[in-house]
Symmetry: C2
Subunit: 139 residues, 2 copies
Amino acid sequence: MAKPHELRERGLRLTPQRELVLAAVRELDHATPEEIAEKVRQTHPGINLSTVYRNLETLENVGLVQHSHLGHGGASYHAAEELAHLHLVCGTCGNVGDAPIETALSFVNALTEDYGFRTDVSHFSVFGTCSTCSQAELS
Amino acid sequence: MAKPHELRERGLRLTPQRELVLAAVRELDHATPEEIAEKVRQTHPGINLSTVYRNLETLENVGLVQHSHLGHGGASYHAAEELAHLHLVCGTCGNVGDAPIETALSFVNALTEDYGFRTDVSHFSVFGTCSTCSQAELS
DNA sequence: TGTGAACTTGCGAATTATTCGCAATTAGTC
DNA sequence: GACTAATTGCGAATAATTCGCAAGTTCACA
């Protein structure tokens, strides 16, 4: 569970729902709002989906969680303190693989130098085909 | 307008709607289904949004158009023959800038070598902050 | 040139994901 | 303990996309 003071410190009230949402985000990783609600319901059955959405937004505003756009549209949330990494999204099987941000370092730097574009690596998704699906295609 | 045979060649029937959707995608670039429908309505007022969606899917299946995920969720369509480039999506102002795929070449190669992940550059979006918005933040 | 089967379209309804308004409840302050 | 503002639950409202189905079209072939 989230430590009380980390929420209070950021000017947020402490509610069981909010703590549970944050805890669920940390535990699940790359979870959709629906999945997060599901998780929270294990402890707090009555939580409303709106409450989950609102808390995710609030927690994101104070920098405790972040979202990224993986597959199709739906946002996916993860804890902000989690080590940033790249998301390799397979368009065929839908799996999301990880790679260290260092892999993209020179690419990110090139964008900054050439275009003044500051890439937000944590929001960054790479679409393609994973090795498993690539091999399956050949057979 | 799309040349008849390029649709027939791919086993598709030739309908005014289909031709117009393809033409609109080519003309607009990075357009949402809604925008494409809007464009088509200039010539064919009655076209239904479902028809636009279905044709985009069909045209994508035969490789004439492609979609990518830029900002928030909504898909954006462009012609397949268009020169592939990277999309630099600014999270602050929403603008979509372009950069040549070469910028990402070594990055893409690294992913292939290290993870067997074949990156689909045309589906690839880079989130961040554009130079204009970066400068605005400082003031 | 007809004809028929298969493909498409239009339309409205169904889904899905997300947001909003509002009254009731609750957390934090004094 | 009482007050104020933040938060929740709930149901309705949106927005984006998909689906079912009947009517209309396209194309292959006679």
